[in-house]
Amino acid sequence: MHVVVFTRSTPDTAAKVEVGANGKVTWGDAATVVNPWDEYALEEGIQQAKNAGGKATVIAMGAEMHNEALKHSLAMGLDAAIRIEDAALDTNDGLAYATAAAAAVQKLGDVSLVICGKESVDVGTDQHLYQMARKLGWTLLAYVSKILEVDYAAGTIKVERLLEQGKQIVTSKLPAVITVMKDINEPRYPSFIGIRKASKAEIPVWSLADLGVTLPAAHTRVVAFKNLPVRDTQVEMIEGTPEEQAATLADRLLQEKVL
């Protein structure tokens, strides 16, 4: 049994992110962290591999900064890490990422389950995760809040998915790509020994040529990043007894026509 988790490094969630004069996104000297959603995917990868006596590999796509997320993953307890880097991926097209990611999973050959976090908090996208599943031709189960049963020998999986109106419980076939939600587990912290081991790890880098894949023509592109329009932050503090505060607020909300 071989499980693959995808992750990447994203700016610390508390970082002040803005668009600099050169049009590039910057977060000053704030650190990068593992994409917060991926912590649950990494934890689940470790647990699934352990339960089935298998192996867990973590993959990141992108420049060297993503090694940090890979090292964090290794320190948590994943068995191996791979980084995919290729100038052709700089088009930032979802389908391009999906095609490369699917090729990497295929190159590993023996994978039964791919686990991803719900989305990347930096680019704010999840599209490429679903598209990877389609390029693989595998089952896609997104928004998984619980894996209820999984039988790698029989090739079956049963999960609970968290949708807007409630929980959908489904059974399906492996191999599968799943994306997981925060509810699924408690991610562990890397151990001291894990951190030491990870710091020494050599992480192989695969190019598209290594994957033996050419990317489809990109139909989308990022034109520019922009700072948010300045919010009218004039706050009106409403004072008085709770009853007076309530009455004044009710007046204001009725004037604002939001009720």
């Binding site: 992110v17 996104v25 908090v121 679903y130 390029k135 509810d183 989308t220």
Partner: protein
């Protein structure tokens, strides 16, 4: 002249009203391209829902009411959408970026090697037929302008509450075409065992008004009963039930929460607003006992009017609020509920 497809999301045989927003956005595209604004309705009651879509601007509809499409499953839905796109080559395919809308459009865009922009909050058609759109990035801290060329079908998922639906016109009709399903049941690996619906709650991402509470909800002046187990959890749950929910009920609002409240076990994760929860954009967001950490802001900063109720006058939430009330939520919220009940005649 190629059509603009809009997938009308349904649940339990009824359309989700946010789908009318997608028809509103689709109308912008159809107007320029001169193609039919076509509602795609799959599953139970498809024909009746197609007629409803006509009232919101659809001039045509493609329906498929088949047993395999009862309850959303990606495989049969995506296979059917992909088949329709391959056969008819529409100019664009739109849907609201709900859980289902996101995966459906992405899957079909992959199947047809089409360009896709996800979670867009505004869009504009360029002279060359490409579409330029704006979407939030870095947890909403910056905006990203993205474009999709005019070479093939343009797939776009739309952020909820970002586009306006057309005024409903009663009596409007759409030309309905029936489509056959693309997969038979034995070709579908995924089987729905059951659906556990959350009853009686307003959906956070659709809500026009949200009342949220944070860690401070545990400072309930009521005493927890001796057999309550964790007293803080009991107090917080009681606070949500007897103080927050009544205000939400008066306003027809959804109930949200901070991660601190969720992690402490005060309320289920489905209610979490923020960077690792839901992104919401209501007309009114009332934050009670929420400090306003940057990760919470990430989920609610596009709310139109923000009200903060917090006993700490220096809480960061006041920096982004339109109205600030310093005080104890256990005094202010019941007073507000009573006042609004009176004003709104409930």
């Amino acid at each position: 002249m190629s059509a603009v497809y809009v997938w009308i999301e349904t649940f339990d045989g009824a359309a989700l009203p946010t789908s009318w927003e997608a028809l509103g956005a689709g109308a912008l595209l159809a107007e320029k391209s001169g193609g039919q604004l076509t509602a795609l309705v799959f599953g139970e009651n498809a024909e009746a829902i197609a007629q409803e879509a006509a009232q919101y601007g659809a001039t045509a509809a493609i329906v498929c009411d088949d047993a395999t499409l009862k309850g959303f499953r990606l495989e049969p839905y995506a296979a059917l959408l992909t088949k329709l796109v391959q056969e008819n080559k529409p100019r664009a395919v739109l849907a609201v970026a709900t859980t289902r809308g996101r995966e459906l459009l992405a899957a079909s865009a992959a199947d047809t090697d089409s360009g896709m922009l996800s979670d867009v909050s505004s869009l504009e058609i360029q002279a060359d037929g490409s579409v330029q759109a704006s979407r939030p990035a870095y947890a909403g801290k910056v905006l990203s302008d993205v474009s999709v060329d005019a070479a093939g079908t343009q797939f776009m998922s739309l952020r909820g509450r970002a586009f306006r639906p057309n005024e409903a016109k009663s009596g409007a009709q759409a030309a309905v075409t029936k489509a056959a399903p693309a997969l038979s049941e034995d070709q579908i690996a995924t089987k729905i065992e059951r659906f556990e619906a959350e009853v009686g709650t307003v959906n956070l991402t659709d809500a026009a008004i949200i009342v949220s509470a944070g860690r401070g909800i545990a400072n309930n002046p009521k005493d927890a009963p001796g057999d309550a187990g964790d007293a803080a959890v009991w107090k917080a749950k009681d606070g949500f039930e007897s103080v927050i929910q009544p205000l939400a009920d008066v306003l027809g609002a959804a109930v949200g929460a901070s991660r601190a409240a969720v992690d402490a076990g005060y309320i289920p994760y489905a209610h979490q607003v923020g960077q690792t929860g839901k992104t919401v954009s209501p007309d009114l967001y009332i934050a009670c006992a929420i400090s306003g950490a940057i990760q919470h802001q990430a989920g609610m900063r596009t709310s139109k009017v923000i009200v903060a109720i917090n006993k700490d006058k220096d809480a960061p939430i006041f920096k982004m609020a339109r109205y600030g009330l310093v005080g104890d939520l256990y005094q202010i919220v019941p007073a507000l509920t009573a006042e609004l009940k009176k004003r709104l005649g409930k």
